[in-house]
């Protein structure tokens, strides 16, 4: 019986890991083709110049929910207002902040409450008012502040923002994200260059830990010099430049990040907006948009662009990482419960047949398989069933493959236009890659399993306070005591999830 189990498990692991490795290779090839296409036809400076001159440039709205952000909100809103784009508006949604977020906005931007005829296209917590500036400053005129009753989630606040945006496309971001000056040109371009209707655009995001930011603007993009954010930076880069790019190539992208992504407003409204109950509201939003497009038989595209457009602060320690990953794990489990009818369903085209199947088998089940793997190894060691002369070969193969993937993303990043000024910064990625399979990956498996466990047993998630370390500034600033910025647990957690 024991031997039978050994053999069956060995065959399962061999098939599972072979398909997984083959899928990585396939994704690398697809991503390579997509990056080559981008490299061949896209010229950032040329595109920006062409768009700047044109009266046909579409307007873009930026929706950024804010909850208890008094320490950073002014700098961050000024940063958003200073983006380079001819026609954009910034919609800040004050989600019932208990601190002076709204008062500071009113004071700094000379805001006044206006009688806006608010229409609730997507159901949210009650709308309290809308503020516009009295100032003659043309930049301030782009600002709209929506005040609403606290909804407890970023999704609810985003929905209130969607209700007031005046442009066809809106970018959903967080107030504390640092955007590239030309991010809007880059993200709008795919909607114009495509022959099919583009309903969402995802852009590459990175960690801002370690970078130098001045007045909310990225001055010097650098990789984080601390292990956990560095691991996450590597993970993000791999996800955006290989996984998402490959899936976008076959029009089967599963997720547009809540940290920075652009959406077609009309489709979002028709799909019912963000789901406030979801722990993976960004993935859920895309699923519902795809569902709407496929159910109505409309053609669509979801695009991923390789340029880094946004930097966000990653979890600085294990405690915050634990909360983030547990939530992601829980969100993924919940997602498949809600959208189970789409999995393998041909009506939802490649998204249903390929992407959701892939995510279910290799993302949802992977932590479980890995945990069984770890336990089995322990079990085999205890039974003396491990051949120590040969087992290292398998580990070396997997380890080398992980290093190969890192070198591939470094090549891609360098190829499509890196945001690093110094090429030597990539050595940090190499360091992270060497340590990641040993340190970071097993921890993430544990956190994901924890998320599944909590979802299955319906454990109420209790969120702690997040102490943001903040990004480096080019100018030396007086040291400030680290204070809990967020007191609303769920909202804070949303912000940490890109």
């Amino acid at each position: 019986m024991l031997e039978w189990f050994d053999s069956a498990f060995a065959v399962f692991v061999a098939i599972y890991s072979s398909i997984l490795l083959a899928s990585y290779v396939a994704m690398c090839i697809l991503a390579f083709l997509e990056h080559r296409k981008h490299y061949t036809y896209h010229d950032d400076a040329y595109t920006i110049e062409e768009l700047k001159k044109s009266p046909y440039i579409p307007g873009v709205s930026i929706v950024a929910p804010a909850y208890n952000e008094e320490k950073t909100v002014i700098t961050n809103v000024k940063s958003l207002l200073s983006l380079d784009y001819p026609d954009f508006e910034v919609v800040i949604v004050n989600d019932g902040s208990k601190d002076k977020t709204l008062e500071l906005l009113i004071e700094n931007f000379d805001l006044v409450k206006v009688p806006y005829a608010y229409v609730e296209k997507i159901k949210t917590k009650p709308f309290k008012g809308l503020y516009k500036t009295r100032s003659d400053n043309p930049a301030f005129k782009r600002l709209t502040v929506v005040d609403k009753v606290n909804g407890g989630t970023k999704a609810d606040a985003s929905n209130a923002g969607v209700n007031v945006v005046s442009n066809k496309f809106f970018v959903c971001t967080d107030v504390d994200c640092v955007l590239d000056k030309y991010a809007l040109y880059r993200i709008i371009w795919p909607t114009m260059a495509s022959t099919r209707r583009v309903i969402a655009v995802s852009a590459t995001m990175r960690m801002s830990n370690g970078s130098i930011v001045e007045e909310g603007k990225m001055v010097d993009a650098r990789p984080p010099h601390e292990l956990i954010p560095l691991f996450q930076d590597l993970e993000y880069t791999r996800s955006f430049l290989i996984g998402k790019t490959a899936l976008a190539r076959i029009n089967a992208l599963q997720n547009v990040s809540g940290g920075f992504g652009m959406f077609d407003r009309d489709i979002v409204i028709k799909a019912g907006g963000y789901d406030g109950d979801s722990f993976a509201e960004d993935m859920d939003m895309i699923a519902r948009m795809v569902r709407y497009m496929c159910d109505t038989g409309e053609d669509y595209r979801i695009v991923q662009i390789p340029e880094t457009c946004c930097w966000t602060e990653g979890p600085p320690n294990l405690k915050v990482l634990n909360r983030q990953r547990t939530r992601w794990g829980r969100g993924l489990f919940q997602f498949f419960g809600v959208h189970r009818d789409m999995v393998g369903n041909r009506n939802y085209r490649r998204y249903g047949v390929l992407t959701l199947m892939y995510i279910m088998i290799f993302e949802l089940l992977a932590p479980v398989v890995e945990l069984i793997g770890y336990l089995s190894i322990l079990w085999f060691i205890l039974r003396g069933a491990v051949n120590y002369h040969t087992i290292w070969v398998a580990y070396l193969g997997v380890y080398t493959f992980a290093q190969l993937l890192t070198m591939v993303i470094i090549s891609f990043d360098n190829w499509v236009g890196t945001s690093f000024k110094r090429k030597s910064d990539y050595l940090w990625f190499v360091l992270a890659s060497l340590l990641e399979p040993i340190l970071y990956h097993p921890i993430n498996v544990f956190f994901s399993i924890r998320g599944y466990w909590k979802h299955i047993w319906g454990t109420q998630m209790v969120w702690g306070n997040m102490t943001r370390k903040g990004v480096q500034s080019a100018k030396p600033a007086a040291p400030k005591p680290a204070a809990p910025v967020f007191t609303q647990p769920q909202e804070q957690e949303n912000k940490n999830d890109a």
């Binding site: 061999a14 490795l21 490299y39 061949t40 036809y41 010229d43 040329y46 110049e49 062409e50 768009l51 001159k53 044109s54 009266p55 046909y56 440039i57 579409p58 307007g59 006044v112 206006v114 009688p115 806006y116 005829a117 608010y118 229409v119 516009k132 500036t133 009295r134 945006v165 005046s166 442009n167 371009w189 909607t191 114009m192 260059a193 495509s194 022959t195 407003r265 040969t390 070969v393 398998a394 070396l396 193969g397 080398t400 493959f401 290093q403 190969l404 070198m407 591939v408 470094i410 090549s411 360098n414 190829w415 090429k423």
Partner: protein, 397 residues
């Protein structure tokens, strides 16, 4: 003991066999992992090497660009600021170019950032004849030609973009070979190049292409090309012909109508009105209505009113905006707008109508006040919204 010198092939074969028989001693899974690991290592080494070479090439090119700028920028500036047209020898002398001056491809490429910067800095004050001669002295047209004729698609596309950026004087024949290529992006760049610099009628390919896909990207680029042509006194296309001759491509027709509006060609309005009377397509009719409204073509008012009754909400919004733009002060027009405001169920249409009524001269103002006085409480937010100057109510959606 005898020694054998192995040939190159035999040498590799020998080590392959040694490796193979060593491997054969192990079970199949170990062999598979060993092969996989070796392949990964080999690829890793190749990618590291490739990256190192790329980084080296990048730094070397950056140095070259910097060096070129340091050495030539001010001298080039001297050339293009001269009021008198300089002879090529004079330009060579200013630039201190050696006799029989020749450049490698990357040297030519290193001039492009400096030339682009110079063109942007000088703007309108740039002496066009001297600019052309400077480019010729630096052999840039020949470089662009070689790029466009090279086998790499990237070089071709980049070549077209650089020519467009730098206003380089290039033979029309170079681009013409790609006007009908199957690669749509390359075809678009070639056509844009022809449209920008063509001296005869370069838009014929657009009009006659039954498979044309006219994306928003092309809308942006063709508009910029048309602005360039108008600025440089080159022949402009007949937009009305585009409207009439392109029944298969709706986007091109809409683009043509929008261009009539942007270039303020009022003389085309009567024909546009004729098209509107026969039009059934919503997107095209909206473009026509918007154009006729913004060009203030008063004879269109009757047709606007006629269409309004059977129009969709989107078209009604455009019609109301157009009627507001015409601003004829006609009482009948005003009365049916007031009537529709009270009847419509669509909140955006209601907002558009109210805004138009509010700005429809004295009569409109009076009608607005009357509506406000009689309005039910549910409608009051619309009135407050319209009256507030801080809200851009044109953008209500």
């Amino acid at each position: 003991m005898e020694y054998y010198t192995l040939s190159r092939y035999a040498y590799w074969k020998y080590y392959f066999l040694v490796f193979y028989y060593r491997l054969a001693e192990y079970p199949a899974p170990v062999r598979a992992w060993l092969v996989f690991g070796s392949l990964c290592l080999l690829l890793l080494a190749l990618i590291v090497l490739g990256n190192a070479l790329r980084v080296f090439a990048h730094y070397r090119f950056e140095y070259l660009v910097h060096h070129t700028r340091e050495r030539y920028y001010e001298r080039m500036k001297m050339v293009v600021t001269q009021a008198r047209t300089l002879e090529p020898q004079e330009i060579s002398a200013i630039l201190e170019l050696p006799k029989n001056f020749k450049m490698k491809e990357r040297q030519n490429r290193s001039f492009i950032p400096s030339l682009t910067e110079l063109k942007q800095e000088m703007g309108e004050s740039l002496s066009r004849p001297n600019w052309v001669r400077l480019m010729q002295t630096l052999k840039m047209p020949a470089y662009f030609e070689s790029q466009i004729l090279s086998r790499s698609v990237r070089k071709k596309v980049q070549g077209f973009k650089d020519v467009s950026d730098l206003d380089a004087n290039l033979k029309e024949a170079v681009a013409s070979r790609y006007l009908f290529t199957k690669n749509r992006k390359l075809q678009m760049h070639a056509r844009l190049h022809a449209a920008r610099f063509g001296t005869s009628y370069p838009f014929k390919v657009l009009e006659d292409d039954p498979n044309l896909i006219f994306t928003d990207e092309m809308v942006v680029k063709y508009h910029n090309v048309l602005v360039y042509r108008q600025k440089n006194g080159l022949a402009m296309p007949n937009f009305i012909r585009w409207c009439n001759r392109s029944p298969v491509n709706e986007e091109l027709r809409i683009f043509a109508v929008n261009e009539i509006r942007l270039f303020k060609r009022k003389e085309d309005c009567s024909e546009l009105l004729g098209m509107l009377e026969a039009c059934r397509d919503e997107a095209f009719s909206c473009a026509l209505i918007r154009t006729l409204g913004e060009l203030e073509y008063l004879p269109a008012e009757a047709e606007f009113c006629r269409r309004y009754v059977s129009a969709s909400f989107t078209e009604r919004q455009v019609l109301a905006e157009a009627l507001g733009a015409l601003g004829s002060g006609n009482s009948e027009t005003l009365s049916f707008m007031v009537e529709d405001f009270l009847q419509t169920t669509d909140y955006v249409t209601r907002m558009v109508l109210l805004r138009v009524i509010y700005r429809y001269g004295d009569k409109g103002k009076a009608a607005y006040e009357k509506l406000k006085a009689e309005a039910v409480p549910d409608l009051m937010p619309y009135f407050s919204h319209i009256e507030c100057d801080l809200i851009d109510s044109r953008r209500y959606a």
